[in-house]
Symmetry: C2
Subunit: 294 residues, 2 copies
């Protein structure tokens, strides 16, 4: 990067998957006066994202993507939003730019989810681009430390937080999932490939059928990053839907890692949490963090 | 225990929860010429169990249970079958024998699942009874070591076995679940309070919606005991239903711990596994086990 090329003045390309996050990031960047262009991933990006995108490209159009980055002068890239369908081999057989890079791309597409994302980053970096994260461009969207809403966790809630946190740490060591639910002093659900939302729905069902018994609002969802998770492309995220599902599951609250998780649609999420009587906390998990706030 | 009181001649009381296991154990004991009496747990035991039970007792009838054990001369107890509904406080307020023991019972009913079972055992042992396991009375029902059916695991299958096994070990350290599923080199599901069957159904759904991608029959269910699990009362179990669900989930096979898991309805389970092309293996996890068979 040339000297004097201030990071905060570089134009950013948002490469946008599904969900409402790409539009929120676009809003945050616009509010901060940051220049950006948006590319919607075909088959993933939702209508509002596609509506404000400068281009829409499929998995096979890597060549066109690089042309877009070049002509728009974007050298920073933010990969944002969900990708539900992992591209299969045939869908990447696209334009010439793709074919040219095929050997590298094929190598990148093999292996687990996390190494895939890491390799996608490397694909961009190998061509001189910089992959940034939300932390770099819109840190105000990350969870801050402490109790975020109006509801305070009880002592029992903190015990469940500790239990579920220990479970997510184990999950992380195995590079499996990011989230766990503890209810009444017992971990009852661990996230695998199903994702956090499906796990919350399972928790609601377990309570409904009496397999997990709890009196009143009880239990905690903890969601943290895995040790090797690249937060630039894979940030633990909660939002209004998470709050709704946690409420439906009869949980008392949600805990995420401060500075290490995104609270999507923050105002709406906090409003819902307060209204439902759910707590929302950001845990300071940095090695030098005291335990006095917990 | 008095000298000369041979364990294999002592009359056993089967205290039977739900599922087909109590009847199978009764068959195995009858075939081996062991004397036994069966008590069906009201609200848990299925009709076939209740049909051959000598008594049916509810959670609150602890006093009656002890009378039954005394009059039938049973001093060994086998707790067998599932218990779906954890007894709540009110349902144990039963007969005089229960009330007399209430302080002890209340202490036993607090805490996690495992400690509860351990404490239930202690309740019996404190009154001079011996709680035995399937290993003690019908070891032939446990999984043996090696490939149990006709289908052999491939090298990829063994890799998934190793991965899922490592996950169940972590789960065990946290005293959470007993089972995990790995597909194509990735752990995709971990068992929490939902149980193995529900986890297998989730795996089928994850494949159906494309969230887990696998070509052909692929992936392994591994089910092992937790480190502190008392195998006398809580033995990892698979059976024909497990095979059906593993088949529906598109898995390649199932691995359990040799001598540490029950294969319920073994003949039927093996027949189904062979017919579905699923492997079934017993892993020798004893500390001095070589790895040559894996």
């Amino acid at each position: 990067m040339p000297a004097g090329d201030q990071a905060e003045t570089r134009r950013i390309a948002l490469i946008a998957g599904n969900g409402s996050l790409p539009a929120q990031i676009a809003d945050a960047l616009a509010a901060a006066g940051r220049e950006f262009r948006m590319v919607a991933i075909r088959g993933e990006a939702d209508a509002p994202t596609r509506g404000r995108a400068d281009a829409e490209l499929g998995w096979g159009e890597i060549g066109r993507l690089y042309s877009f980055l070049k002509t728009t002068g974007c050298r920073d890239i933010l990969l944002i939003g969900g990708v539900t369908r992992r591209p299969d081999f045939t869908s990447i057989l696209g334009d010439f730019g793709t074919l040219k890079r095929l050997p590298t791309i094929i190598r990148a597409l093999t292996g687990g989810d996390d190494s895939l994302l890491t390799k996608v980053i490397r694909l961009f970096e190998d061509e001189g681009y910089r992959v940034v994260g939300i932390k770099d461009v819109a840190p105000q969207l990350l969870a801050s430390s402490g109790v975020l809403g109006r509801v305070q966790p009880s002592q029992d809630d903190w015990r469940d937080v500790e239990l579920a946190l220990r479970a997510t740490e184990k999950l992380g060591e195995l590079d499996i999932g990011q989230a766990a639910i503890a209810v009444g002093g017992r971990v009852i659900a661990l996230e695998g490939a199903e994702g956090t939302d499906a796990m919350l729905q399972r928790c609601a069902e377990l309570k409904r059928i009496g397999r997990v018994r709890a009196k009143g609002r009880c239990g905690v969802l903890v969601k943290t990053a895995k040790p090797n998770q690249d937060l630039r492309v894979d940030l633990p995220t909660i939002g209004p839907v998470t709050i709704d599902l946690a409420q439906a599951a009869g949980l008392a609250g949600i805990a995420v890692e401060a500075q290490g998780a995104l609270v999507a649609e923050r105002d709406e999420a906090l409003r819902k949490a307060d209204a439902a009587g759910l707590f929302l906390v950001g845990l300071d998990l940095s090695p030098d963090a005291g335990t006095s706030d917990r």
